[in-house]
């Protein structure tokens, strides 16, 4: 069966997250450099570098996105969040020159997702960040489309390796549409074993061998 019966909750993409999406949960686990603007009493044990009881105001620490988002308030000074390098001006220039040369998996792998999420935090650079990720997407789109449409039976792993998560999902969507058509064209549209069943069997074999 080509159609998978298991359809996971898709990620929200952009500024909204989907509550149940595994992708979004992992995305919101990405760590951001933060500076605290208030003291957090009794949580000192979370900071390995200090042995005080509190985390004092002014501490620089990395926080997962979900926590920074939860604590951040526009009106009150609780913490400031620094833009990760890949969204700062230096990299923005690189993306502006040629978005195709960048290994977004290494820089991400949630380049678009995290970039969009950064817009939740006030920063004068936000408009440029939003523009850059949009232009990067547009600039890389052609290559993703072309390779996903020519990939039948050919090795695309080198290209896919450099794609961010969102791009990979697009690549797979393009490929499955094309593969389904080509299978039909070649007349291979017969009944097949479920992929899930096959993968289970592979795993069972692997377990037996190890």
């Amino acid at each position: 069966m080509d159609t998978q019966s298991y359809m996971p909750v898709p990620p929200g993409i952009g500024m909204e997250e989907n509550f149940f999406s595994l992708d979004d949960i992992l995305l919101s686990h990405e760590r951001l450099p933060c500076r605290l603007q208030t003291t957090f009493p009794r949580l000192g044990f979370l900071e390995k570098s200090s042995d005080t009881q509190d985390i004092p105001e002014g501490t620089k620490m990395e926080m997962p996105l979900w926590l920074a988002k939860g604590l951040y308030e526009q009106k009150r000074r609780v913490l400031t969040v620094e833009l990760p390098k890949v969204y700062r001006e230096g990299w923005r220039t690189v993306f502006g020159a040629d978005p195709n040369v960048v290994d977004l998996h290494k820089m991400g792998p949630y380049y678009y997702g995290l970039g969009s999420q950064m817009l939740h935090f006030d920063s004068p650079e936000n408009p440029e960040v939003a523009q850059t990720i949009l232009q990067t997407f547009i600039g890389r789109f052609r290559r993703i489309m072309d390779s996903s449409q020519n990939a039948y039976d050919s090795d695309t792993s080198a290209l896919v390796e450099r794609l961010d998560c969102l791009e990979r999902a697009l690549f797979r969507a393009g490929q499955s549409g094309l593969n389904a058509f080509q299978r039909w064209e070649k007349g291979h549209a017969h009944l097949t074993a479920s992929n899930l069943v096959i993968n289970y069997r592979k795993r069972k074999l692997a377990d037996m061998n190890s």
Partner: protein
């Protein structure tokens, strides 16, 4: 949609056959069929035509457009024009495959027709890709899909929709206040 489902829809198209048996009119929910008389042409749905053909009960008359000269014209026009040209059958790809696979002996120059249809398909798909790309790079908001067939749309549907959706979301980012207003913190 799976391509086999698109093919299934194509099997409802009518085609002319010349039966070699006789049978009174058959009344079915989907419409009446027949009557069938040896040597007398009659219109039937493709699924029935193929079934009868497989049992050597009829000869299939290829649709008018399934002709080398006509297809060459279409191919040239398709290559010349930037937009999608009107195609004589909304199921040209499916019907070509079905009829050529099961009734090639009833279709003159079957191999040439196969190649021509494939050329037309390839030209149109290349065009489709080109227009998707320019659609994305110009950040268009809507597109006309005139003259595209179901099978053509179907091969690119999920890719196109996911791409447009992503672009829409990333574009909303650049317009603060639109989507940014009400978001939940988890």
């Amino acid at each position: 949609m799976d391509p086999s489902e698109v093919e299934f829809l194509a099997e409802k198209e009518m085609v002319q056959i010349i039966p070699n048996f006789s049978l009174d009119k058959v009344y079915l929910i989907g419409g009446d069929l027949g009557p069938f008389n040896p040597g007398l042409p009659v219109q039937v749905p493709v699924w029935l035509a193929l079934n009868l053909k497989q049992r050597q009960k009829c000869r299939i008359v290829p649709p008018e457009w399934m002709d080398v000269q006509k297809l060459e014209e279409i191919r040239e026009q398709e290559r010349r024009e930037e937009t999608f040209t009107p195609i004589p059958s909304p199921y040209y790809m499916e019907l070509t495959k079905l009829l050529l696979n099961h009734a090639a002996d009833n279709i003159p120059k079957a191999d040439e027709i196969r190649t021509l249809v494939k050329d037309i398909w390839d030209t149109r798909i290349a065009k489709l890709r080109l227009s998707i790309d320019s659609f994305i790079s110009h950040q268009e908001a809507h597109a006309k899909l005139d003259n595209l067939t179901l099978m053509e749309i179907n091969t690119t549907r999920s890719f196109l929709l996911d791409s447009l959706n992503s672009m829409y979301k990333l574009r909303s980012n650049t317009q603060p206040g639109s989507a940014a207003e009400k978001t939940m913190d988890y």
